[in-house]
């Protein structure tokens, strides 16, 4: 008997829930814009900051209704979430895909329902580009170019512009888009300088342990010759720095020291930048919210939007030797790091 009561209660509450959704869907005829956001999960600080950015941008005060779904790293969950969004007749769907493939069917459903889909962070691999409206994410190659342009200017400023410079590239997980872009930026810059040589290029798989192991080995081949170590994320940089110090070398930007560069600008990474162990740390910005809102506002106004939109990304250096780099005619600021900047950041 009691069980039946509970079941009945549950049924009633479910019905109530359903009607609440209906009310919500009916509501969006007014001024509020309903956005369904399917997020990968919460696997890193970066991801958490990404979620927070969306939540704070699409808040009720800003005139939005955000339906957030955490997929817990599973594509099935994301597919279900998108279908739910379609049923709830949201105005826009924002998707941070967990994998690149397998989206054709569900995106077609969204397209048939007339709901624009905006992809953030990772790209989707679909047969027909019109299945999504726009993509927002990081320009990894530009990140690499910025870092290398900084290095060029920095060495120039230190009077080492014509010296023989030996570089080491600790790559990310081979095949990851961040690795491909950042390695491209590195390779092109080395190619463009006659006095720059790549001593070793090896994958640290984006982890501290592998970064350390690989660096240990490279130091044994050519420790005395290394001038610059280019790590493709902060975790690798931590490992590389430990290996360099353990072998009795010094890290830093001066001659005779090994200069370490890094990407991602995590809190721990910037703390190491402040202490001077990482000399330059280039950002991988997780704050996608504002850029996505820009696109939605344009769509609301009936304007065309670019298929690819990159988020603005900055770079931080341990000192103020170089404060600006130019790539293809565009200026980019390099900010000297301070404790206030670290404390003021969202991630």
């Amino acid at each position: 008997m009691k069980k039946k009561m509970v079941t009945a209660l549950l049924a009633v509450s479910m019905l109530a829930g359903l009607s609440a959704v209906n009310v919500m869907a009916a509501d969006d005829g007014g001024d509020t814009i309903t956005v369904g956001f399917s997020q990968v999960g919460a696997e890193s600080d970066w991801r958490t900051a990404n979620t927070e950015s969306m939540k704070s941008t699409f808040s009720e005060e800003n005139g939005y209704e955000l339906i957030f779904d955490d997929a817990q790293q599973k594509q099935e969950n994301q597919l279900t979430a998108i279908r739910n969004f379609i049923q709830q007749e949201v105005d826009y769907i924002v998707l941070a895909p967990v994998t690149e493939t397998g989206w054709d069917t569900v995106l077609q459903e969204a397209k048939d329902a007339g709901i624009p889909v905006i992809i953030v962070d990772r790209m989707v691999d679909v047969s027909d580009d019109s299945l999504y409206t726009a993509w927002v994410g990081s320009n990894f190659k530009l990140e690499g170019q910025k870092a290398m342009a900084w290095l060029d200017a920095y060495l120039e400023a230190k009077g080492r512009g014509d010296e023989e410079i030996n570089l080491v590239d600790i790559q990310g997980t081979i095949g990851a888009s961040a690795q491909i872009g950042r390695t491209e930026g590195f390779d092109e810059a080395v190619e463009a300088h006659d006095n720059w040589t790549t001593l070793a290029q090896q994958s640290g798989e984006f982890t501290q342990a592998k970064g350390q192991e690989v660096m240990e080995s490279i130091l044994k081949q050519s420790g005395d010759d290394i001038d610059v170590v280019y790590c493709e994320n902060d975790n690798e940089a931590f490992g590389a720095i430990d290996a360099i110090k353990a072998a009795g070398y010094e890290v830093g930007g001066e001659e005779g020291q090994i200069l370490v560069m890094s990407f991602d600008t995590t809190n721990a990474g910037l703390t190491q930048t402040l202490s001077g162990e990482i000399t330059c740390d280039t950002e991988c910005n997780p704050l996608h919210g504002p850029r996505v809102e820009e696109i939605i506002q344009k769509l609301e106004a009936g304007e065309d939007v670019d298929k690819q939109a990159y988020v603005d990304e900055v770079a931080f250096a341990a000192d103020d030797t170089v404060t600006k780099v130019t790539i293809d005619g565009t200026d980019y600021d390099i900010t000297p790091i301070t404790q206030e900047i670290i404390d003021g950041r969202a991630y």
Binding site: I174, G175, K220, G248
Partner: protein
């Protein structure tokens, strides 16, 4: 050397694993002549060989546990990598008291280490229960923690990487005081010695082999085969926990996503390279240890030769194929028959 003596050496169990290890190392004599240089740098031992011995430590510890599990249950524990992450997460989370980065212990180190080892023993006991008591296939039973283990570790660390930036915490993965020998090496040696002594002194080794060869027969002569299988899984879990603590100390943090990632496969490979039969029964602990060093020697060799990162797995695979083929029975028989043919041909020639 007389022929029979040579035959005795080549037919010894550990002959092939040792030859393979030496062969891998010999590649370096040609490609990287300074591979075997060992110097003292910055007060510690320095050299490629030291790297091999140091970096293989976690794998050696795992391979010991994997050997016992394989021998007793005729299957492998594929959850060891995830259990490493669980142990690291528990230890670091207790030490940090919940914060994501600390520069001083919030709780006692002893408490954290004991809790971490208890957690890993619990994981081992869970696997053991499923395999020994419920008779589930080892690979399937341990698949549960293989999948869930990292999730549990993430849950413990709240999905963050927990950093313990305290010097004494880095000792297990670094150096103790002025000792020139990397601490992980000591952990590996002590683990192997202790397990070897236990197996020899308590007849546990014999029991494990008999349970692995024929569980029913072992039970009929009075061995509690369920208990012995269960025990091997608990031991394997605790060893994975120790390996996890060493790995975590190396990077002074608990990286639940990456600690011990794919290491279970290397551990199984180490057991196989050591000349052990993966179907259970007779085993050689030292064989597995040699197998573990062979795998790391291969990795370090490829790094030293500066093989491109995207091609690295291919070279690794080729070497593994060669080693496994060399050790297969079919290949051994082929060599044997080839040799006997030669002998008979020689004999015929003599008659003419």
């Amino acid at each position: 050397m007389s022929n029979s003596k040579l035959k005795k050496i080549t037919s010894a169990r550990l002959f092939l694993p040792i030859v393979c290890l030496i062969a891998v190392l010999l590649i370096n004599v040609i490609k990287t002549p300074d591979f075997f240089n060992i110097t003292i740098r910055n007060g510690v031992l320095y050299g490629y060989v030291i790297d091999v011995i140091n970096r293989a430590s976690e794998l050696v510890i795992l391979a010991v546990g994997m050997t016992l599990v394989t021998a007793a249950s005729g299957g492998q524990d594929i959850s060891v990598g995830a259990v490493m992450a669980v142990a690291a997460a528990v230890c670091c989370q207790i030490l940090s008291g919940g914060a994501s980065s600390v520069t001083a212990y919030q709780n006692s180190l002893v408490l954290a280490v004991i809790a971490a080892l208890l957690a890993s023993a619990l994981c081992g006991a869970f696997n053991g229960l499923l395999v020994a008591k419920l008779n589930i296939q080892p690979m399937v039973a341990t698949l549960i923690l293989y999948t869930a283990g990292r999730g549990i570790a993430q849950l413990v660390t709240n999905g963050q990487i927990t950093y313990i930036r305290v010097e004494s915490f880095q000792m297990a993965g670094g150096y103790i005081g002025k000792s020139p020998v990397p601490t992980p090496v000591l952990f590996a040696i002590v683990t192997v010695v202790i397990v070897a002594i236990i197996l020899k002194k308590t007849a546990l080794g014999l029991y494990i082999e008999s349970v692995g060869i024929n569980g029913k027969a072992a039970r009929l002569v009075g061995l509690n085969s369920t208990m012995i299988k269960f025990l091997t899984y608990v031991i394997c879990g605790v060893l994975a926990g120790i390996a996890g603590l060493v790995a975590s100390s190396r990077i002074y943090s608990a990286d639940a996503n990456n600690i011990g990632l794919n290491l279970e496969m290397d551990a199984i490979l180490a057991v196989a390279l050591g000349g052990n039969f993966l179907g259970g029964g007779k085993f050689s602990l030292i064989g597995s240890v040699i197998g573990a060093y062979t795998i790391q020697a291969l990795t370090t060799t490829l790094y030293a030769m500066n093989v491109k990162a995207d091609q690295l797995p291919v070279y690794k695979a080729i070497v593994v194929i060669i080693i496994v083929t060399l050790q297969s029975d079919v290949f051994k028989k082929f060599v044997e028959s080839h040799r006997s043919k030669k002998v008979s041909v020689a004999a015929e020639g003599g008659q003419k």
